[in-house]
């Protein structure tokens, strides 16, 4: 990658306040051109309480503004008032469809701050659970995304198969969604009896199911027409806008933190980073489908090689990390999930900043939708794979 010299999307034109546009509307009698329409916060396709103010020319989108914060719970403020251990369950409530990834990021960040490392056995189980969670997150994305575009059937298929993953989670830690699976320094629970068998069964179960999803969609003419060339974003624009995850990869940038700056023990596993070429909705779909398969590949390797040993590193009962700060990020299903933790030497973090992938990715909605039709806005919101719990925190 060379630093791009050309001017990318002019940042100043991003998300301008729409009120000015409304005021400047031409007040002639036959003014049929501009329509300002409010989508959400209660709307079936905004995946939660996202409000999008659209400025339309007929059905063509001239610009849009996202209004977020309806689900703001002040997670970062809560962190400052809890101990490191007590805050751990809260991170599950941000990206609640990928709670395991959130937990992994937080635990690793605190471990870094404490300068401890989880033992290998814990690392392997962490990777298995995280990758399972990636598949679950992508499945949920696929189902809802296809539903937004009008195909209702994939939703039920993906939810049926996601159920198997949630069952494994439930058996492992007793919770299905907000798992709180990891502890700082390792794991609290040893893998249950038959965990490996369950995971292996799941792999052989879900492989043909992914083919099944693809059969329904990949070559479906209407699906192709609805997704090809829709919501195109270039790699340069992605980088300028900080967009990460499958969206960035679909735009042709081969970058995955699991490879670039390996955490956990991802460097021990073989897998490929899928990339797209056109950066459109279809490529993002393909990239995520391949990612599911690659995740299976990682799980396969991990489940074969789980070493014996302890699952918890030596961490003090009362955690008082030395004064300092750390930024640690992982590749969550949606993109780069970062934790910036400042410690003042006490039991509570002085400041926890979460760098949420959904929040940053959502910012690209504006330029991805310009010039597209209303129906494409739905497709683009779907393809960005945002979770409002994480956007608003």
């Amino acid at each position: 990658m060379t630093p791009s010299k050309r001017i990318m999307t002019d940042p100043r034109t991003l998300s301008p306040s729409l009120e000015t546009h409304v005021a400047a509307r031409d007040e002639t009698f036959l003014d049929t051109n501009e329509l300002v329409i409010n989508m959400g916060p209660q709307h079936p396709a905004t995946h939660g309480v996202l409000r999008v103010i659209l400025r339309l020319d007929g059905e063509k989108v001239l610009g849009l503004e996202c209004v977020i914060g309806y689900l703001h719970r002040g997670v970062e403020k809560i962190a400052e008032n809890r101990t490191y251990t007590m805050f751990n369950p809260y991170v599950d409530r941000m990206d609640y469809v990928a709670a395991v990834s959130n937990g992994l990021g937080y635990c690793e960040a605190v471990e870094k701050l404490l300068s401890v490392e989880a033992p290998p056995r814990a690392q392997y189980i962490r990777v298995i659970l995280t990758e399972l969670n990636r598949i679950a997150s992508h499945q949920l994305w696929l189902g809802t995304h296809a539903l937004d575009i009008g195909a209702i059937t994939p939703l039920f298929y993906t939810f049926r198969d996601r159920e198997e993953i949630l069952k494994i989670f439930e058996k492992y830690c007793g919770a299905r969604l907000t798992t709180h699976a990891f502890r700082i320094g390792g794991l609290q629970y040893e893998a249950y009896e038959g965990f490996e068998k369950d995971v292996k069964n799941f792999i052989s179960f879900v492989k043909p199911k992914i083919d099944e999803y693809e059969e329904l969609l990949t070559t479906n003419r209407i699906w192709l027409e609805r997704t090809k060339g829709v919501g195109v974003i270039s790699g340069e624009d992605c980088i300028a806008l900080g967009v990460t995850g499958p969206v960035l990869r679909a735009s042709g940038v081969k970058w995955d933190i699991r490879k670039a700056q390996p955490y956990a023990n991802y460097k021990n596993f073989e897998f490929e980073i899928p990339t797209g070429e056109n950066g459109d909705t279809y490529d993002r779909y393909i990239v995520r489908m391949i990612e599911m398969r690659q995740a299976l590949r990682i799980i396969e390797q991990a489940v074969e090689g789980i070493p014996e040993g302890p699952i918890m590193a030596k961490v003090p009962k009362v955690m008082k990390p030395p004064v300092g700060e750390v930024y640690h990020s992982i590749e969550a299903p949606k993109g780069e999930l970062g934790y910036f933790i400042v410690s003042d030497g006490s039991t509570q973090p002085y400041r926890v900043r979460v760098r949420p992938p959904s929040f940053v990715n959502l910012q690209a909605l504006d330029i991805m939708c310009r010039g597209q039709l209303v129906a494409d806005v739905i497709a683009v919101i779907g393809t960005l794979d945002i979770v409002l719990g994480e956007v608003d925190r």
Partner: protein, 180 residues
């Protein structure tokens, strides 16, 4: 052959005519354009009923499919796009009462004159004459008039009319499109 009691009774005529007139008045008096359009649709449907009374079902069908179902939908389409609030504030009448009344009176006088000269001593609905036209031959009859290897009298004019419509369509496209 046709044991049906005739539908072309004065009762139905007056009913449909009344509907048409009321509809017509509503079209020009309603301030809300959508209401006007709906009234116009009622008028057109009543007119289709009159065609049926004349044993011209094909014309009635075409009236419904083209005017009520096609053109009026486009009217509504355009009206709906126009902001209603502003529309209501507009003055609908351009205060040409005198000319309007004069024209209406002249037209009414003409009707009365025609009526009195042509139906002297006769009833309005004669039992014989055109009304005995058999319904079941109407559509085929029109087809024969328009196109037949031997009697296709109006073939050329029909095609000319469709050509005119084509010209109108192209004209509309040229005017509407900023860049061709």
């Amino acid at each position: 052959m046709n044991p049906n009691p005739p539908v072309a009774t004065p009762f139905f005529f007056y009913l449909l005519a009344a509907v048409m007139i009321i509809g017509g008045i509503l079209v020009i008096t309603r301030k809300n354009a959508v209401h006007s359009a709906l009234a116009l649709i009622t008028t057109l449907l009543a007119q289709a009923g009159l065609y049926l009374m004349l044993y011209a079902p094909f014309v009635a069908g075409v009236q419904i499919i083209l005017y009520a179902g096609g053109i009026m939908v486009l009217f509504l389409f355009v009206i709906m796009l126009i902001s209603i609030e502003r529309n209501l504030k507009e003055r609908q009448f351009n205060h040409q009462w005198l000319i309007g009344i004069a024209a209406a009176a002249a037209l009414g006088g003409l009707f009365i004159a025609v009526y009195t000269t042509t139906t002297q001593g006769k009833v309005l609905f004669p039992a014989v004459g055109r009304l005995s036209y058999v319904e079941s031959g109407n559509t085929q009859g029109i087809a024969t008039l328009l196109f037949d290897r031997h009697f296709g009298t109006y073939m050329f004019s029909f095609e000319i009319a469709s050509l005119l419509l084509l010209v109108a369509i192209i004209g509309a496209v040229v005017m509407a499109k900023k860049r061709i």
